[in-house]
Symmetry: C2
Subunit: 526 residues, 2 copies
């Protein structure tokens, strides 16, 4: 049943060789990244049948919106320990949904205690929800990965409405709530696809296995081990993995994604006084941890986004001339970029530079810090302990462990140069490797056909600046290929305020998912 992915040989190649490799595989095809030719094969499910399925999805609109509203109402913020019970509640919500839809062998896989740094040393990780739909050996098996946890959100951050209450904006034809695009909408989408089949009395063309986790927004802690443990057990026989947890590049053109940056997230802890102090009494006589932290922060990156840590840029695979040409062809404009960011503060003024710095160069972002005064007003406090947060997006051929060493050594060196009596240490909070795949395997080909069937256009084949570290784990542990099939748009505001999902993306997205399962079932790889 297992067909070795071309990526089995690809994943160890240097990025500079990858494009050459892809070109070699597909030398007989023109329009390399558009994939027009692929649609002409294997159309055994008639358009009428798709029509019925698509009509049913449209017909069930109220139900599908209502279900999503119920799901996003649970504030399943994995990064906030106090909300851990809500994360577990959302797992239970999905268990009930899966049962109702006829999934079998449902398992709430416990992952044990959350490792430090944690406030509560007894904090349990939320469960991974495993379930099967069908186990016909004659069918291919698709593993659907999604996550039910979400980013933090609070009305006072500037949301137009309560972030954990779904609002349907009829005028803008979109839904707004935390998680609606990242990743509750897509998770719900897969369940709705099953629902639509059942309502039609239509058999699913593949076996499904769900793997829904609750720690994706906090580094997918514990999932690597679970996948390794279940590779030959629950996940045995998986032919491909489909992940819907990213976004279109822009707002108009559907995409399929074959590459991701990794992410190493660090914290710098600077400690001085035993408790916060009054700047009137201690200002000028005490070494302030906050002053040390901003010095270390300031040494990491410049205002043009250049990483200033010695040795980091040297690890990045060089850009080949051939590769350079690929970025010109992607349907993307600087205007879209500016619209998505809501500003004209882009660091580059041409498409290839923007796409390359998003996809194939590393970046360093400073996210914030714990422990300092962070409210409105003017508090005259000297914070006693500050914890600075920053992360580096990684790309081929950066080695994660080597990067950690460079980063930590750099921070230590800069701090030591300050001559401060405070204490400073830098540590990795979590990491996830980058991933690059072959965009012409059976799974991508099926998804390209599905996209064409629903949207009437070929998808762009893109990479992503964000990371879904688990992608690489699935590929390595299950020895199968992985595909990213995004549902939402580039301006959905994942991780930001007023996260949204366009109604059309939710419903066309489900149709694409459904069509993908059928095209993949019909492909020659089994």
């Amino acid at each position: 049943m297992f067909i070795k992915s071309p990526l089995g040989t690809l994943k160890n190649l240097r990025l500079s060789n990858l494009f050459t490799h892809c070109l070699r595989i597909h030398t007989s095809k023109r329009n390399l990244y558009a994939g027009q030719l692929l649609l002409q094969q294997h159309a055994t499910m008639t358009e009428t049948q798709f029509g019925k399925l698509f009509d049913k999805i449209e017909e069930l609109k109220p139900r599908f919106i209502e279900r999503l509203a119920e799901a996003v109402a649970i504030p399943a913020v994995s990064g906030d320990e106090s909300l851990r019970p809500m994360v577990v509640k959302k797992a239970e919500f999905y268990r009930a949904e899966l049962e109702r839809l006829g999934f079998q062998d449902i398992k709430m896989k416990e992952l044990g205690l959350q490792p430090p740094p944690v406030e509560n040393p007894e904090l349990k990780l939320p469960p991974v929800v495993l379930a099967r739909y069908g186990s016909d050996p004659a069918k291919k098996t698709v593993l659907l990965y999604g996550h039910y946890d979400v980013q933090p959100a609070a009305l006072e951050d500037g949301w137009l409405s309560e972030p954990f209450k779904l609002v349907v904006d009829e005028e803008k034809q979109l839904m707004r709530a935390r998680g609606v695009s990242d990743d509750t909408g897509p998770v719900q989408g897969w369940l709705n696809v099953v629902d639509a089949h059942r309502e039609l009395g239509l058999e699913l063309p593949v076996n499904l296995i769900t793997c829904f986790e609750g720690m994706e927004e906090s580094g997918s802690i514990g999932l690597d081990k679970l996948i390794a443990d279940e590779a030959d057990k629950y996940f045995k026989g998986v032919d491909t993995v489909c992940i819907s947890d990213n976004y279109w590049l822009g707002t108009k053109k559907p995409v399929l994604t074959y590459g991701l940056r990794g992410c190493n997230y660090y914290q710098i802890i600077v400690e001085g006084p035993g408790a916060d102090l009054h700047s009137g009494i201690f200002g000028g006589v005490i070494a302030e941890p906050m002053i040390d932290l901003v010095k270390v922060f300031g040494s990491l990156v410049d205002s043009q986004g250049r990483i200033l840590i010695d040795g980091v840029n040297e690890m990045v695979a060089p850009v080949t001339e051939k590769e350079q040409g690929l970025y010109e062809k992607i349907d993307f404009t600087l205007d879209e970029m500016n619209a998505a960011s809501g500003s004209e503060t882009c660091l580059y003024n041409n498409k290839p530079d923007v796409l390359m710095h998003r996809w194939r160069f590393p970046s360093l972002s400073i996210h914030g810090l714990e422990g300092a005064f962070s409210s409105q007003g003017a508090k005259t406090v000297i914070p006693a302990k500050v914890v600075g947060k920053f992360s580096i997006r990684t790309v081929p051929d950066m080695e994660s462990a080597k990067l950690d060493k460079l980063v930590i050594d750099h921070c230590n060196k800069v701090f030591q140069s300050l001559g401060s009596p405070n204490k400073c240490r830098t540590e990795l909070i979590h990491d996830g490797n980058y991933w690059v795949s072959d965009p012409f395997n059976a799974s991508f080909t099926a998804a390209a056909k599905a996209t064409k069937a629903v949207y009437g256009v070929e998808p762009d084949f893109t990479r992503e600046g964000g990371s879904i570290p688990i992608t690489l784990t699935f590929e390595t542990q299950l020895k199968t290929n992985v595909m990213l099939l995004p549902m939402g748009r580039g301006d959905d505001g994942a991780h930001s305020i007023n996260e949204k999902l366009d109604l059309s993306n939710y419903f066309q997205g489900m149709k694409t998912m459904a069509a993908y399962l059928h095209y993949y079932a019909e492909s020659e790889t089994k």
Copy 2:
């Protein structure tokens, strides 16, 4: 009735001349700053009478603790707009208390709307509570200033108990709650002194006027104008102003305070994207406001506390040889400093340097920032707008307006050098000038006697690193002198977590206040 304070001529002197001036006034006295001789004059109130008063204060212990518990239970955080109704509630609490104690002519002085920057443009300032106790033209009139607002506080910041619930720690003989030392305890102390006199049927030796404000922790907005407006009305005939809103230098020796640093509080606003962004999608292609902010922050001060803004240190009055000698005599050790900070992160290793950098040199503290990720966990956000907060403690002869210009020009210059497409502006949130007084006037002399009567020791005459900007306004507008009579200790943790007031400081403090009123009444200045 009005006796011109020596400070009338003093306040325009340069700091370098001040000590010489003080020395000239008191050339006939030895032990210049200890004031031993002062106690031998005007002891018309017998020790027995003080004994009765002090005994009554001891007897009323349960009542006085209960009152303080009621007061601190109201979370009157002036810096948090959402808590403004609580600030007003606390003003009402004090109105009721003053009425109950027989104060007359009670006025809740409205100060209008809070000026920008505010979230709610209709936000009203909390009222100033004015009240009189007695109006005998044969008596001197003492204006008691205090503030009923407090600093922010939240249990999760690390408090041992709910910050707005008074806890009496019998083992450590202290009370813990936000505001207990700064400044609700001292305000309550003055009312308790009146209560004790009434319970004894003992006439107050002076007329009292209260001026209790609710915006001290947020720059005393509106109070300057009120004092100017009322100088010849409500405050007409005031002989001296007594402020109990600071702390002993250490933990053992009572002090009287004759100097304060000023405080100019600034914010740096850096804006870029229209909303917070995901660092996976935008990291490396967007100019990050947080990166620009840490660069500007990093340019302000070094880890040794040296201000790096051109022209600022040049404004500071030079240290004279005579002045240098004064700091050696103060009862203070580096161990106390370390105990108060809970660390050994002091920037200086000898007493004169510590005291000078606390009292007579400026300092720059970075307090924190709004808009960035500030919770626990690892959020991969690029904050769209960050507002950095820092302040400079000012000393003679720094000119506030000139300082503002130097600071703002510096921040603009540094930001421009970054070449960032973001927008940055720096603005003053609030300022308050420094103040230095004559420590040998009638008010200080009375307070020194009172301290000796209660504690059995001469107080140290100190300055403070913190600012009570209104000190200078009272002095200028009422053309009278002002004295600072602290109740709490240097380690009370004002503005920090677990703010406390030792029970002995509360009760000995009230006795000192009471004795001060009697000694001042008997002084020759009227």
